[in-house]
């Protein structure tokens, strides 16, 4: 049974598929929740994290655990958690559950959906202008989920800017094999790509390869990854999980426990394109200005970025 703890403290439980220090998907959410909790103050909010649970069985146990322990908001940060989440949510109508990238909701379930393709489009557009070799590279993990959305957006951006620029696209077949991602990046660079991009925690390896090679740059996704390679990362598309979490906290406190798909996009600024100040000189001012106007177009919908089918 649910051990209701009624001390007025808001408890948030987070379940992460990889480590909270993965420099990408999981770390982003971890930092987002941490920031919200810190803002609210320890007396008002607390968080607990279960990490490295790629498989839904353990995640299911964790979700139910948190519910049983009287957590108020439970965030299962992965598409694969949909089933266990729906199941537990039915048993705990007073608790708010959240998951994503996802679309299934119910009265006490939020789904969140980062529109990865938007920033990707803009990065693709920019990369196509900046490349010297006219070759770009995408280091993919598994061709699914976030990765295809992102990659598809990137390619559209390139085409919009300069159809003659080639985009090399390939996949390691794994989410976490850094060494393989590194080799794949090397293969791209070897094939003359001079700007690369990619998603998932494996990109740490690819970014290493990029920073080993002079004149090769990287567009990042998930979080601001520039600390990983300050001299190679031009910009990052960072999901502002903090605002998403804050939104859910506010809703929860206001009595709205779920029933909404929360989009992360440019309009609501839950997606932020963070340029690396170290490489500020790399993007000429006029190009940057064009970029900003493109960004406005994408945000407003004047430019439609398609999703893969």
């Amino acid at each position: 049974g649910a051990a209701e703890v009624d001390d007025g403290v808001l408890r948030i439980g987070v379940i992460l598929p990889s480590g909270r220090d993965d420099m990408s998907w999981s770390q982003g959410m971890y930092e987002g929740v941490s920031a919200v909790v810190a803002n609210m103050g320890a007396g008002n909010a607390q968080m607990a994290v279960t990490e490295n649970v790629p498989n839904p069985v353990d995640a299911g146990a964790a979700i139910r655990d948190y519910a049983n322990q009287g957590f108020n908001i439970i965030i299962a940060h992965g598409s694969q958690y949909q089933n266990p989440l729906m199941e537990v949510a039915a048993d705990f109508p007073e608790v708010t559950f959240a998951h994503g990238t996802a679309f299934e909701t119910s009265s006490n379930i939020f789904a969140y959906d980062p529109q990865a393709q938007l920033g990707a489009y803009l990065f693709g557009w920019l990369a196509a202008q900046m490349t010297n070799s006219q070759v770009l590279g995408i280091v993919g993990p598994v061709r699914a989920g976030d990765a295809i959305k992102y990659n598809y957006g990137f390619i559209q951006g390139v085409e919009a800017a300069n159809p003659s620029v080639r985009v090399l696209e390939s996949y390691t077949g794994s989410f976490g094999d850094n060494i393989q991602a590194k080799e794949m990046a090397e293969a791209h660079i070897n094939a003359r790509a001079d700007i690369l991009t990619g998603t998932a925690q494996q990109v740490v390896g690819a970014i290493q390869a990029v920073s080993e090679n002079d004149g090769v740059y990287w567009f990042a996704n998930d979080t601001d990854q520039s600390p990983l390679a300050p001299n190679s990362i031009i910009a990052s598309q960072a999901y502002s999980w903090e605002t998403v979490v804050q939104y859910m906290v506010d809703s929860h406190m206001a009595g709205k426990l779920g029933g909404e798909i929360i989009s992360l996009d440019l309009t609501n600024e839950r997606i932020q394109l963070v340029f690396n100040p170290v490489l500020a000189d790399l993007v000429p001012a006029d190009l940057m200005a064009q970029f900003e106007s493109k960004k406005a177009d994408v945000a407003s919908g004047a430019i439609q970025v398609r999703l893969p089918e």
Binding site: L168, G176, N178, A187, A191, Q208
Partner: protein, 313 residues
């Protein structure tokens, strides 16, 4: 397609193949020695992870890569002693004890990473070291002699292993212990000691293979489970090699070249799902072995069989 055959791409392919083969060479040659003495060490993957973490951590904290390597060697020796204790002294079922060592290595490397470093950090690893003169040999020079010294060391270990096994008194002991431990024992060779030595050396080499994944990269970083199955492949390659150092070299190169090749096949996009190229190295390895194996393979007869004096198996 034609662009694929450009010189730079081919050179890149070969260079990547050599680089990818390096951890397999270290771990595979070590495993071969261990198996030659009669011990199947299936825990290579876990030991690699420990080597990868320990070397990175120590190098990162001390700023000295060689200190990191030394630490990996010590950690590998420790894991080797543990493996030998379980497999040789306690006569455990080696297939299972190896899985235990693997899981333990996975856990310990992840645990200590979190407890000590806590987040992903990067540092400079061993730099490329072009060998004068040799590096100017056309093609081969750039492929073979413009890598970091760990790559050279791995390549050098092939003839060294060969010489140790076939040309030294120690190698003769190892072969006899793996083939007929009762015979070795009857001549006063300590089967236990030889096996301990081989397992420990093998584990040290697995640990160095792990270190190659971190500090052996120009840009070094440790992430959880960085070995990503390479340790198991290394064990598999020993069977491919039929317990011969040159076979390990052949197997490591076959696997790695196909891997490097499939990465490039994907890039030129020939319109097949990328999963097929990703599977390629595994499938080709199986097929090559199936085609090259005829009749009974003469492996170390006592492989996986614990030795008990007077009990003939």
């Amino acid at each position: 397609m034609s662009e694929f055959f450009q010189a730079t791409v081919l050179l890149g392919l070969l260079t990547a193949g050599v680089r990818l083969a390096t951890p397999f060479l270290f771990a595979g040659l070590g495993e071969m020695l261990s198996q030659r003495s009669g011990v199947l060490n299936l825990g290579v993957e876990g030991i690699m992870l420990i080597g990868a973490f320990v070397s990175f951590f120590v190098a990162f904290e001390s700023g000295n890569l060689y200190l990191g390597l030394l630490a990996a060697i010590l950690a590998g020796a420790f894991m080797g002693l543990l493996t030998a204790f379980v497999s040789v002294t306690m006569k455990a079922v080696q297939g299972i004890s190896g899985i235990g060592i693997h899981i333990l290595g996975l856990g310990l490397s992840g645990l200590f990473f979190r407890l000590t470093m806590g987040s992903i950090s990067t540092m400079r690893g061993f730099p490329r070291l072009a060998i004068p003169i040799l590096k100017d040999i056309p093609v081969l020079g750039r492929v073979l002699f413009n890598q970091n010294w760990m790559v050279y060391a791995a390549l050098l270990l092939v003839p060294i292993s060969w010489a140790v096994i076939y040309k030294t008194t120690f190698g003769l002991k190892v072969r006899s212990v793996g083939e007929n431990p009762h015979a070795a024992d009857s001549l006063g060779i300590s089967v236990t000691r030889v096996r301990y030595i081989c397992v420990v050396i093998g584990s040290i080499m697995a640990s160095i293979a792990g270190a190659f994944l971190t500090i052996g990269q120009h840009e070094a970083a440790f992430v959880n489970n960085i070995a990503a199955g390479r340790g198991f492949i290394a064990v598999a390659l020993v069977y491919f090699a039929k317990w011969n150092p040159l076979g390990v070299l052949a197997g490591a190169f076959l696997f790695s070249m196909i891997d490097a090749f499939q990465l490039r096949i994907q890039i030129i996009d020939i319109g097949i799902p990328y999963e097929i190229p990703v599977m390629l190295p595994y499938i080709v390895t199986i097929v090559v072995l199936a085609l090259s194996t005829r009749g009974r393979v003469l492996g170390p007869t006592a492989l996986t069989k614990p030795f008990v004096r007077g009990v003939h198996t």
